[in-house]
């Protein structure tokens, strides 16, 4: 490689690819280009406890001097507009960035609520530092919030708002954490959050956002009821940002850029990592939206660019802080046939171990870090959460 590696995206995975290229010994040119004007930063704290005190600098992965010392060029506040696979990307401001290998780490963006009134002021999403500032400022003045969506983002924000004494109603079209968690965990969280004062409207959809003077004042549900609110927070999932991938003809599946266990895309010049990807392995496709996945795919992508052929075998894991409930999960909950609860649900301290054919495939733990850590080690040793192990023979 001579003209170097261009990393498109300055989130968790983009940052990790660039730093891993250096730690793995690459001495060519490395450039990170990102839409946002900030140094690469951590996103998870943005939704936890409305966690951040407004000081975004505490969330940056590394100070600016680090990039200088590692000779990593940063092009920030200026996204890539077009990519010519002959080796040059053009940014919105007209900058030309040459490359001989490309990393797509464009991440995902919040799925938009598409109902009348959804573009009013006071309908907010949470993905970026400015989003979190908006939410933190609002949280200081409001008394009633509606949260649309009962995924991790929705539940984290709902519990953070509750802890500040704000009245919160969560509206969701199915159950809690319907894409990721076992029903046992979902039922527990429903009861636990209800006990802490969150109101749930499940198996309901939002018909429209109720507005007054161009500002959201609540939502109208599909049964016609109006829920008053000072703010409407939408957390209904994320959409991989695949515009560039599509423009250069990469294969997509489940909405994401298809990669294999070496983080390779359908084009040999291009690797991809993080929320933008869909992992295809042994014919099975899975999407993981997590810090762990972003980090491990990124390390693998860097290794692949440098000629290594070591597959990414990391155990998927995830955490979510919902008020006093610290959830940690590992493995894969799809396809289990038996689940066993260890510990005391009534005391908010337990683990759910799920099995397929008698083999452990996932753990979901609440306030039980030791149980979680030991199950994670077990999963790493047995690898029985992998698709090949789950396929009936």
């Amino acid at each position: 490689m001579t003209t170097g590696v261009l990393v498109v995206g300055a989130g968790q995975s983009g940052f990790q690819v660039a730093t891993s290229l250096r730690t793995q010994g690459y001495d060519g040119r490395v450039t990170i280009v990102g839409d946002e004007p900030f140094l690469p930063y951590q996103r998870p704290p943005l939704s936890k406890g409305i966690g951040f005190d407004g000081d975004g600098s505490r969330l940056t992965f590394r100070p600016r001097e680090f990039y200088a010392s590692q000779v990593i060029d940063l092009v920030l506040g200026d996204g890539v507009d077009t990519i010519d696979l002959d080796g040059v990307a053009l940014t919105r401001s007209g900058r030309e960035l040459p490359f001989d290998r490309l990393v797509l780490a464009t991440g995902a963006e919040p799925r938009r609520l598409r109902v009348p009134g959804a573009d009013a002021d006071g309908v907010v999403y949470l993905r970026t530092l400015p989003d979190a500032s908006t939410l933190a400022a609002a949280a200081a003045t409001i008394s009633k919030a509606v949260v649309v969506g009962a995924g991790y983002i929705g539940l984290e924000i709902a519990s953070a708002m509750r802890q500040r004494g704000i009245a919160v109603t969560v509206v969701a079209q199915s159950r809690l954490l319907s894409r990721t968690a076992t029903p046992i965990l979902a039922d527990y969280l429903l009861a636990a959050h209800t006990k802490r004062g969150v109101v749930f409207e499940l198996e309901r959809t939002v018909e429209r956002v109720h507005t007054a003077k161009g500002r959201a004042r609540g939502v109208v549900l599909d049964d016609g009821r109006l829920l008053d609110a000072d703010i409407v927070i939408v957390g209904i999932g994320a959409q991989p940002r695949t515009e560039l991938a599509q423009a250069i003809g990469l294969e997509l599946a489940l909405g994401g850029v298809v990669v294999d266990e070496f983080s390779r895309t359908s084009n040999p010049l291009v690797v991809a990592a993080g929320d933008v990807t869909t992992l295809r392995r042994e014919g099975h496709e899975r999407r993981f939206e997590s810090v762990q996945n972003a980090v491990d795919q990124a390390k693998t992508a860097a290794a692949t660019l440098l000629g290594s052929s070591t597959p990414n075998d990391a155990v998927p894991w995830f955490w979510s802080d919902q008020g006093d409930l610290k959830l940690k999960t590992a493995g894969w909950t799809g396809g289990y046939d038996e689940a066993v609860v260890h510990g005391e649900m009534s005391q908010d301290r337990f683990s759910i171990r799920s099995y397929a054919d008698g083999r452990l495939v996932s753990v979901e733990s609440i306030n039980s870090p030791a149980e979680y850590m030991s199950a994670r080690r077990e999963l790493a040793a047995t690898r029985s959460w992998e698709p090949s192990a789950l396929t009936p023979t």
Partner: protein, 111 residues
């Protein structure tokens, strides 16, 4: 400023001056010390910033067992490298004037 030293898995010593209140993890990762991963960013969710507090400093820093909240202690039970008396998550060690001169050793592997 509080001075401390991190010994990385290759045995290389890195000396830092950090502001009071900052965590060892923040300062060390900010300078790219090898071996401190800190995947979760300092929220006691991953146990990938495990360090060994130098034996002579353990009583000054305090042990994970002695903390009222047991989360750190439980996470440390699951770390991949050996658990020792001085094992701590470096995101949970905040610099204070008493820690001036502190020395921590980074284990060979993280969780």
């Amino acid at each position: 400023m509080v001075q401390f030293t991190c010994v990385d898995p290759q045995g290389v010593e890195h000396s830092f001056d950090g502001p009071e209140g900052a965590s060892i993890m923040e300062i060390a990762t900010g300078s790219g010390v090898d071996g401190i991963v800190a995947e979760c960013g300092g929220f006691m969710s991953c146990a990938t910033c495990h360090v060994y507090v130098d034996e002579s400093w353990v009583d000054v820093v305090g042990t994970a067992e002695s903390k009222e909240d047991d989360t750190e202690n439980e996470l440390l039970e699951g770390v991949l490298d050996e658990r020792r008396r001085g094992s701590r998550l470096s995101c949970q060690i905040n610099l204070t004037p008493e820690l001036d001169g502190l020395r921590v050793i980074v284990p060979k592997i993280q969780a």
